[in-house]
């Protein structure tokens, strides 16, 4: 097994120490850090995502893998930053106002970091204004919102309208999720994407990221 394949394997198994050790080893062997990230860590999280989707893995296994990824990133991040390697995209995420459930949101954050995104987590009970301030500050390509209860879902609509009014949707796309949310609902409120679990969130995020990139480029060249 190649070193990177072994790294991916250890990540899938959730072995944080092994992942840290192998990441450092790969760096010592002068393997390009971007490649270590893609073929080692991200590749491993893809397997985790697939297993989660297929009910082979569940929340605890995903958490362990996410922790292992974090252990690897501790070694990798400084090197990536020094080389000017940027994350493939940035996601801002939070649970809407009135809602304090966050395990699902946290899982999505982990899986997206695992897919190479930079994730800024605003936490729970986040009102529209706070989202806007953070959007202006971080300029994310994606804004993710989570709501577990049917009673707090309405906030998502309020938020999307606020984003539109503030003009930030020319540079970002909105992704929503949570037990109460559905594809229909997402469409009704003007969100750009819906994901029913953390794994689909990664897929949708990648799709939306491409849309945002195209949109930003188009705006730039106007």
């Amino acid at each position: 097994m190649t070193l990177l394949a072994e790294l991916a394997h250890e990540l899938v198994e959730g072995h944080a120490d092994a992942v840290a050790r192998l990441t450092q080893q790969a760096l010592d062997q002068h393997i390009p850090p971007a490649e270590i990230l893609e073929k080692g860590l991200i590749a491993g999280m893809e397997v985790v995502g697939a297993r989660f989707r297929d009910n082979v893995y569940f929340v605890p296994e995903v958490l362990l893998a996410a922790r292992a990824m974090k252990a690897g990133m501790t070694h990798l991040e400084p090197v990536l930053a020094a080389r000017g390697v940027a994350p493939r995209g940035k996601l801002l995420i939070g649970t809407v106002k009135g809602d304090i459930h966050d395990i699902g949101k946290n899982l999505v954050g982990m899986m997206l970091r695992g897919a190479g995104f930079e994730v800024v987590d605003l936490g729970i009970n986040v009102p529209a204004e706070q989202f806007l301030v953070a959007i202006r500050k971080h300029d994310p390509e994606l804004v993710g919102m989570s709501a577990l209860l049917t009673t707090t879902m309405a906030q998502m609509k309020t938020n999307v309208e606020a984003f539109r009014a503030a003009g930030v949707l020319s540079r970002a796309r909105v992704l929503v999720g949570g037990a109460a949310v559905s594809e229909d609902f997402a469409r009704t409120i003007g969100a750009h994407g819906y994901a029913k679990d953390a794994t689909s969130a990664v897929e949708r995020a990648r799709e939306l990221l491409e849309e945002v990139k195209a949109m930003r480029e188009a705006n730039f060249s106007d």
Partner: protein
């Protein structure tokens, strides 16, 4: 333009003058249909067949039904609106059956000291300077008496001008009624358990505390949502949702009327009511705004005990009857939890005792040497069949027990021995516990495939299938399958409950092993196998013999408050003293939840 809606197979009809929701039309015909996902159009379990007449096809119909089904007239019932004459067939699978034995197993002997007393005395019109109320009070041996405006207005008519025997009805120093002659043997009260899914009521003889009649029915609010959160959402989207209040009161009134009629009791002889409801139900019954209960920090408008008169709620009882709603703890831990704690004597528990109410909402209370703690969990609908592929309520045809023999024989039992058509909560718990023991399900929750069952007996292997969507599954009986997804749903539900239990123990400063007894309340609990519950890790590790099912403890508690002043006092104290632990946002919750997801490995 009038049109007729006809329901089969009952052949009941309804005339409508304007477009009407199917659910409402059915209810008016006393046909109760299920809405497991709360009309979110995601489960498809509300499907009905339009035999005659027209019904538009919606996008959700197209998603959840096949083309053949739609051509055959099947539609989702939860959002169907009827605009012209139609004949609707609602199959067995879509119907609900009420069932909530009321007041079974009076767990702790209760005293008998009703708050409302009815006594006859020899009345002598007062002579010098004494008011009639004072004279009556003296005759009754009570310090003083007061009455509301209507009582005072009635007084002259009620009190004879000459010496005579009269009977007074009073609570403490509040005079409720005066009747001529000796009618002290006729005093009745009603105890209510206002559950999210089922309403239960018992007519009690206030002279001896005996239950004369009991009745239960499905909570009509169900058409606005299967769980409290969906109903609160309805309130948010419909300017407060007064329909929620109205239909509940209407049902309560009908239940009281039914009880009275069956027992040959008159309206004016019902003087006292005690109601135990969860926070949402208590608010709805009193017509209070529900909306804040749907958003953090999920607070109700009050938590104290509240007493109103019979007239205020429009119930068919004495207009001055004392209608008493039990106090609540906080947030969604309401009067029903307080009543259940009272019934099992949680406030008097020497050793550490955990009370779990497994219902549509799950609340937990921990009692230990006078200390009381409570928490509310979002366990989800798995125990009621929600989110489970073949999940259903505990009704005829539901698998409610599963066994796997050492030789690998998988057998099931169904309710009423009807052919298996689904899996109810106790069946789900049993199925997973047995398959865990047999090694088909791993402690992580992973469900093995047919190929992976290398050491299992062939008879068991046979049951392991790959389902249509590619998941692993186990065929239980007929076409009823337990899927890998179902196991995960159960893990989420039991993880939430177990994590709540662990945190309550931690807050009480108790180690896991110090738990002495676990009480499971809620009708669902009646059919659970203790061994299965412990095997799944739903409750902290404990000898199954120390797990007790306490049935409808909330109903028992309401009854206790109705007939015993001491019980009422204890309920007030329980509500006051109980420490509410907010789990959402709790810094240790996530770790506790994740740790609680796995099943115990069962190594002894």
């Amino acid at each position: 333009m009038k049109f007729t809606v006809r329901f089969l197979p009952e052949d009941r009809s309804l005339e409508a003058k304007q477009p009407m929701e199917l659910m409402l039309a059915a209810m008016r015909c006393d046909i109760w249909l299920e809405q497991p996902c709360g009309a979110k159009q995601t489960c498809g379990k509300c499907r009905v067949r339009v035999r005659e007449g027209k019904a538009a096809v919606t996008a959700a119909d197209r998603t959840l039904l096949t083309r053949e089904e739609i051509a055959d007239g099947w539609r989702l019932g939860c959002t169907l609106v009827l605009r012209s004459s139609a004949t609707i067939e609602a199959p067995e699978t879509v119907r609900s059956v009420a069932g909530k034995p009321f007041g079974d197993a009076l767990l702790f002997a209760t005293g008998f000291q009703p708050n409302v007393a009815k006594r006859s005395v020899d009345w002598k019109p007062p002579t010098h300077g004494q008011s009639e109320l004072d004279a009556l009070a003296r005759a009754l041996g009570v310090e003083s008496l007061a009455g509301d405006d209507s009582m005072l207005a009635d007084l002259p008519a009620r009190l004879p001008a000459r010496d005579a025997r009269v009977t007074a009805v009073y609570e403490g120093q509040e005079l409720l009624e005066i009747e001529s002659g000796d009618t002290s043997g006729r005093a009745f009260g009603v105890a209510f358990d206002l559950g999210t899914t089922t309403l239960a009521a018992a007519l009690v003889n206030l002279c001896d505390g005996q239950v004369l009649e009991a009745v239960s029915r499905l909570n009509p609010q169900a058409r606005f949502g299967a769980d409290v959160i969906s109903r609160i959402r309805y309130a948010q989207e419909h300017a407060g949702g007064t329909e929620l209040h109205e239909c509940l009161r209407e049902a309560m009134g009908q239940m009281v009327g039914e009880l009275a009629a069956r027992a040959g009791v008159r309206e004016l002889e019902i003087y006292s009511l005690a109601l135990a409801g969860n926070t949402t139900m208590t608010h709805a019954a009193l017509g209070a705004d529900l909306r804040a209960l749907g958003e953090a920090p999920y607070l109700g408008r009050w938590t104290e005990e509240r007493t109103v008169c019979g007239r205020a709620l429009g119930l068919p009882v004495h207009p001055r009857a004392r209608v008493r709603f039990l106090p609540m703890v906080r947030s969604h831990v309401g009067g029903d939890a307080v009543a259940a704690a009272l019934a099992v004597g949680l406030d008097r528990s020497e050793g550490a005792r955990l009370l779990v109410d497994l219902g549509t909402n799950s609340e937990l209370m921990l009692g230990c040497r006078g200390k009381l703690l409570a928490a509310s969990t979002a366990a989800g609908p798995a125990f009621e069949g929600g989110n489970i592929g073949y999940g259903m309520r505990a009704e005829p045809g539901a698998i409610d027990a599963v066994r796997v023999s050492p030789g690998g024989e998988l057998t099931v039992k169904t309710i009423d021995d009807q052919p298996a058509r689904g899996l109810c909560g106790s069946g789900l718990v049993d199925a997973v516990a047995e398959l865990l023991r047999a090694g088909v399900i791993l402690p992580s929750g992973y469900l093995k495939s047919h190929e992976q069952m290398t050491v299992a007996p062939p008879t068991l292997r046979e049951h392991c299938r790959r389902l249509r969507d590619g998941q692993h599954g186990v065929l239980l009986a007929g076409t009823v399958v337990l899927s890998a997804h179902d196991v995960r749903q159960l893990q989420l539900a039991k993880g939430a409950i177990r994590a709540a239990a662990e945190l309550l123990l931690r807050h009480a400063g108790l180690a896991a092993g110090e738990l002495e007894e676990v009480n499971i309340a809620g009708t669902f609990g009646n059919f659970l196998r203790k061994a299965s519950l412990v095997a799944l890790g739903l409750v902290p590790e404990i000898d199954p013999e120390r797990v007790r099912f306490v049935g409808n403890a909330a109903g028992v508690g309401a009854r206790m408050v109705l007939v015993d002043a001491e019980a009422r006092r204890r309920a007030l104290e329980i509500a006051q003293r109980c420490e509410y632990v907010e789990l959402a946002g709790h810094p240790e919750y996530e770790a506790a939840f994740v740790a609680a997801l796995a099943f115990p490995s069962g190594k002894r």
